[in-house]
C-alpha cells in the first residue's frame, strides 16, 4: 500500500525526469594544463533513448564521458541524475549511482575468467562467505542468455578475441542494471555481424528504459541506432537535434562549421622534385597499400579520424615500426629504413604525436633535450661531445624559436606544453632535416604558440624542406597544406588539392 503523498512524490520525480531527462548536464567546464577541454557544455539524456554524441577528434566527447563516469572531476557545472543533483566522486561512485561505462580501451583482467571479470567486487558468496563459483557461472550464463551472447563463462579472458572481449565488457555494463549506459565507440573493434548483435542489445535496453549515451564517428550508426544527437566542437556545445530530421551533411557542417581565420600564414613557394615516395606500404592489420609522393617545399597534410592509422604510417616511414612490405624511395632511390637512426641518415626528422610519451625527456634539462638527436651524428670526437659548440647551437635555435625558459638548464617538466613542443622542434631542426614528419605539431598548446609553430613550418617549407603534417584539426590541415591526403581505417581514402579542399570534403572521405 502506497500512501497518497508517496505516490505524489513519485509522480513529481517522474515528471521532472521527463522534463530534464534521466541524466542532465549543464554548464560543465573542464580545464587541463594548457587546454580548455570543455567549456560550458550541456547534454540531456531521456530515459529509453539512445543519445549519440558527435564531434571531431578533440571536441571533448571523451572528456565529458569520463566526467559522467566519475573518472574526472569537472571544474564547474552541474550533473543531475534522475532529477537530483549529484557529484560523482569516483568510477565506483558513478557505478553505484547507476551509471556504467563501456570504455574505448578494454579494461578487463586478462588472467581471470569471463565470469570473474563480470562479477568482480559483486561475487556471489556461499554460506561460509567464500566465493560461490558455481552460482557465479550460472548468473553469467543467465546474463549471456538474455543478451544472446555465446561465450563460455569460464573461459579465460586472455583467450578471447577483441570482439569477444568487447561483448564481455557490454555484458558487464548491462549486469549492473544501470539507468545510464555510456558507450565510447563500442564498434571500433568489432565486425558487422557483431555490430548488428550489439544494436539488438541496445534496442532491448532502450525498451527497458535505459538512457544510452553513444559516442561514435560513424554517420551510418547514428542514423541506424540513435534517437537524438548532440554535437560538440572544440570543447563547446553546438546543438541537440532529433536524429530523424537531419541529413548527413547537416551533421558534418555542425561538427566542422567554423571559419578559417588568417591564423595560417601560408607562404606560396615553388614546389620542387619528389623527395620522398612511399609505394604500397603495408603492415597487415594496421594499414594497407599506402602510397604517396612528397615534394621539396611541399606541405602534405595527412587527415583522418582516430583509428585511421595515420601515426602508424609516420612511424613506419621513420623506422620506429617499419612497414612489413612496400617500398620507400628517397630522391628516387629505394631505401631500407629499419630504425630512426637510418631515417636520420637520410635527412628525415620526426616530431612524434605524444610529446610526453615519446618526445621529451621530462626529468632532464632543456639543453639535454635539444641536443639529443644532434649528438648522435655531429660534434662528437672520440665519444667526447664538443659541448661548447653544441650549447651555442642549442641556445641560438632556442632563441630563434622563442622558447620561453629562464635558461637551458631548466628541467623540461617545468615548461609549458607549447614550449616543450618548440624544444622538440628545435631538437630536430638542429639536424637540418630535408624531410620533416610532424605528428599533431600543435596538439594541446595555446593559440599564441600555435601560430608561431605554424609560421615556423611554412618558413621551413619555403626553405625547401618537404613536410608531412598529420593533424586532427581540419582548419590546420586546410590552412597549412599544399595537398591533403585523407586516410580511413588504414587505407588512403583520397587526395585533395589545396584549392579544391574543404572541411566537408575531408570529412566525407574520412568518415565514410
Amino acid at each position: 500500500m502506497v500512501s497518497a503523498s508517496t505516490a505524489a512524490a513519485v509522480d513529481r520525480v517522474k515528471q521532472r525526469i521527463d522534463a530534464e531527462g534521466i541524466l542532465a548536464i549543464r554548464g560543465i567546464r573542464k580545464e587541463f594544463p594548457g587546454v580548455l577541454a570543455l567549456d560550458d557544455v550541456q547534454l540531456k539524456v531521456r530515459p529509453g533513448t539512445v543519445h549519440a554524441l558527435m564531434g571531431e577528434n578533440g571536441a571533448g566527447k571523451s572528456t565529458l564521458m569520463k566526467i559522467i563516469a566519475g573518472i574526472y572531476q569537472p571544474d564547474a557545472g552541474e550533473i543531475t541524475l534522475r532529477g537530483k543533483p549529484v557529484t560523482l566522486k569516483s568510477p565506483l561512485d558513478a557505478l553505484e549511482q547507476g551509471i556504467s561505462m563501456i570504455h574505448q580501451e578494454l579494461a578487463l583482467m586478462n588472467w581471470m575468467t569471463v565470469a570473474e571479470n563480470i562479477w568482480i567486487r559483486r561475487e556471489p558468496k556461499n554460506v561460509f562467505g567464500l566465493i560461490d563459483h558455481g552460482k557465479m557461472a550460472r548468473q553469467t550464463q543467465e546474463l549471456f542468455d538474455r543478451l544472446n551472447i555465446r561465450l563460455d563463462p569460464l573461459a579465460m579472458v586472455s583467450e578471447l578475441t577483441v570482439a569477444q572481449k568487447q561483448m564481455v565488457e557490454i555484458a558487464k555494463a548491462v549486469s549492473h542494471n544501470s539507468d545510464v549506459l555510456i558507450m565510447d565507440e563500442p564498434t571500433s573493434a568489432i565486425t558487422e555481424n557483431e555490430v548488428a548483435h550489439l544494436f539488438t542489445i541496445i534496442r532491448d535496453l532502450r525498451a527497458r528504459g535505459v538512457g544510452i549515451v553513444y559516442i561514435t564517428h560513424k554517420m551510418s550508426e547514428l542514423f541506424e541506432i540513435a534517437d537524438e544527437f548532440t554535437v560538440f566542437r572544440d570543447g563547446k556545445y553546438v546543438g541537440t537535434h532529433s536524429a530523424l530530421d537531419v541529413t548527413r551533411d547537416d551533421i558534418i557542417r555542425m561538427m566542422v562549421g567554423r571559419d578559417i581565420t588568417d591564423m595560417f600564414p601560408k607562404i606560396d613557394c615553388p614546389i620542387g622534385e619528389v623527395v620522398l615516395e612511399a609505394r604500397n606500404l603495408t603492415i597487415p592489420g594496421v594499414f594497407h597499400d599506402v602510397s604517396f609522393q612528397l615534394r621539396k617545399g611541399e606541405i602534405l597534410g595527412l587527415a583522418g579520424l582516430v583509428g585511421s592509422k595515420r601515426s602508424n604510417v609516420a612511424e613506419a616511414l621513420f623506422g620506429v615500426h617499419p612497414a612489413s612490405s612496400g617500398e620507400v624511395l628517397i630522391d628516387g632511390t629505394p631505401v631500407q629504413i629499419t630504425s630512426p637512426k637510418v631515417a636520420m641518415e637520410h635527412g628525415m626528422a620526426f616530431l612524434t604525436e605524444d610529446r610526453k610519451e615519446t618526445g621529451c625527456f621530462l626529468i632532464l634539462d632543456c639543453l639535454e633535450n635539444i641536443q639529443t638527436a644532434l649528438i648522435t651524428r655531429d660534434h662528437v670526437r672520440f665519444g667526447f661531445i664538443d659541448q661548447k659548440a653544441v650549447t651555442k647551437l642549442a641556445e641560438d635555435m632556442a632563441a630563434k624559436l622563442r622558447v620561453k625558459t629562464p635558461n637551458l638548464a631548466e628541467k623540461v617538466e617545468n615548461l609549458s606544453g607549447g614550449n616543450q613542443q618548440k624544444l622538440l622542434i628545435a631538437r630536430w631542426l638542429l639536424t637540418k632535416p630535408r624531410i620533416l614528419i610532424l605528428d599533431e605539431p600543435t596538439r594541446g598548446i595555446d593559440v599564441g604558440a600555435k601560430s608561431e609553430i605554424h609560421r615556423l613550418i611554412t618558413g621551413l617549407a619555403s626553405e625547401g624542406v618537404a613536410v608531412l603534417m598529420i593533424s586532427s584539426e581540419l582548419p590546420e590541415v586546410l590552412g597549412m597544406s599544399d595537398r591533403i591526403m585523407v586516410m580511413h581505417e588504414g587505407h588512403v581514402a583520397g587526395f585533395l588539392n589545396r584549392d579544391e579542399a574543404d572541411q566537408v570534403k575531408i570529412m566525407d572521405l574520412a568518415a565514410r
Binding site: 621513420f318 620506429v320 630504425s339 630512426p340 637512426k341 631515417a343 636520420m344 620526426f350 612524434t352 610519451e357 615519446t358 618526445g359 621529451c360 625527456f361 621530462l362 626529468i363 632532464l364 639535454e368 641536443q371 639529443t372 638527436a373 649528438i375 648522435t376 651524428r377 662528437v380 665519444g383 667526447f384 661531445i385 659541448q387 629562464p406 631548466e410 617538466e413 617545468n414 631538437r427
Partner: protein
C-alpha cells in the same frame, strides 16, 4: 633525509643546489652524530683517527667499484642483481690462473707463475661475458632486468661452486696479490670512479645513458640505438663487478665460491643512498661516491661504538629503505608539480 628548508618560492625558481650537496649534508650529519656519541660513550674522537678512516674507505671501496657499474645500470632504468655472483665466479677463475708453481696442488699445474696480465684479463672476461649476456637478454628479449640478472646471479654462483667443486683456491703470485695490497683497492676505485664520472658527464656514452633512463621511447626516436647501449652498460657493470672480484680475491690471497654474497645489494644501496633514482634518468657518480662513504661511516661507526653486528645489519636495512622512500617522495613531488 634532510631537505632544504628554504621558503617555497612561487616566482622564478631559485638556483637549485645540486642534489649531491643534500647527500653531503647527510654524510656530515651522520659523521657528527658518531663524533658526539664517540666522545660521550668511548671518550675519544671518531673522525680524528686517520687509521680508522683509511680502513673504512678500504672496506667500502671494493663494493664501491661495483657500485660505479650499478649506478649506470640504475640510471639507465635497470637493476643488476648479478654483481655479487660475478665477484665469486671471477675470483675463482682469476685465482686459478694466478697460482704459484711452488704450490703442488695448483688447479692447473701446467699454468702456474703466469704474468699477472693473464689472470687479470681472464677474470675481466668473465664479468664482460656475464654482463653482456645480461644486456642482450634485457635489450633483445625484453625480459625485466630484475629477472635476467636474477638468473645470472644464480647461474654465476653455481658456476663458481662447480669450478672447483666447492674447494677454495689459494697461493697467488706476488704480482697478483699486489692488486689487493695496502691501499691499492682504493686507488683502483678512484681511477674507475674518475673514468666513469667523466664518461657520464662529458661523453655521448653518458648522454645516451641518461636519455634512455629518462625516456627510452624518446631516445629511440631521437636516433639512439637503445638496445646496443643497454648491452654496453650491462657489460660495463659486469666488467666492474669482475674487477672488484679480482681485487677482493687478491687481497684475501684466496678465492672461494661464496665470495661476494650480498655485494650486489650493498652496491645498489650505495647508489640509492647517493641519490640515484630507481626510476632511472637521475644520479651521478659523485652521488654514489658520497653514498659509499655514508655506508662506510655507518658500518665503521657502529663498530667504533661496539654495537653488535646484528644491529648493524638491521639498521643498514632501515637506511636503505629510508633512502628509497626519500627517492619516491622526490618523484611524487615532481608528479604533483607537472
Amino acid at each position: 633525509m634532510t631537505t632544504a628548508t628554504t621558503q617555497p618560492t612561487t616566482e622564478r625558481p631559485q638556483r637549485r643546489l645540486p642534489q649531491e650537496v643534500n647527500i653531503l649534508m647527510v654524510l656530515v650529519g651522520i659523521s657528527l652524530v658518531f663524533e658526539i656519541l664517540g666522545w660521550i660513550t668511548q671518550g675519544q674522537s671518531f673522525l680524528g683517527n686517520p687509521q680508522r678512516l683509511s680502513i673504512m674507505i678500504l672496506q667500502v671501496s671494493v663494493i664501491g667499484i661495483i657500485a660505479i657499474g650499478v649506478t649506470q645500470v640504475i640510471i639507465l632504468g635497470g637493476i643488476d642483481l648479478s654483481s655479487g655472483s660475478i665477484v665469486g665466479a671471477t675470483a675463482m677463475i682469476s685465482m686459478s690462473l694466478a697460482q704459484v708453481g711452488t704450490f703442488d696442488r695448483a688447479i692447473y699445474p701446467g699454468l702456474t707463475d703466469l704474468p699477472v696480465i693473464v689472470p687479470l684479463i681472464a677474470g675481466l672476461m668473465v664479468g664482460l661475458i656475464a654482463g653482456t649476456v645480461n644486456g642482450v637478454l634485457i635489450a633483445y628479449t625484453k625480459i625485466p632486468p630484475f629477472i635476467a640478472t636474477l638468473g645470472m646471479m644464480v647461474a654465476a654462483r653455481g658456476f663458481a661452486k662447480w669450478y672447483t667443486k666447492g674447494q677454495p683456491v689459494s697461493f697467488p703470485t706476488d704480482s697478483f696479490a699486489a692488486l689487493g695490497k695496502g691501499m691499492t683497492p682504493v686507488f683502483i676505485f678512484l681511477l674507475v670512479a674518475a673514468i666513469f664520472h667523466v664518461a657520464l658527464k662529458y661523453t655521448r656514452y653518458g648522454k645516451y645513458t641518461y636519455a634512455i633512463g629518462a625516456n627510452p621511447q624518446a631516445a629511440r626516436v631521437s636516433g639512439i640505438n637503445v638496445e646496443r647501449h643497454i648491452v654496453k652498460i650491462y657489460a660495463v657493470a659486469g666488467l666492474l663487478a669482475a674487477l672488484a672480484g679480482i681485487v677482493v680475491t687478491a687481497r684475501g690471497l684466496t678465492a672461494q665460491a661464496g665470495m661476494g654474497v650480498m655485494y650486489e645489494l650493498d652496491a645498489i644501496a650505495m647508489a640509492v643512498i647517493g641519490g640515484v633514482s630507481l626510476a632511472g634518468g637521475r644520479g651521478t657518480i659523485l652521488g654514489t661516491m658520497i653514498g659509499m662513504v655514508i655506508f662506510g661511516v655507518i658500518i665503521s661507526g657502529f663498530t667504533f661504538l661496539r654495537l653488535d653486528a646484528y644491529y648493524q645489519e638491521m639498521i643498514k636495512g632501515v637506511i636503505i629503505v629510508a633512502a628509497v622512500v626519500a627517492d619516491v617522495h622526490r618523484q611524487k613531488k615532481r608528479v604533483k608539480k607537472s
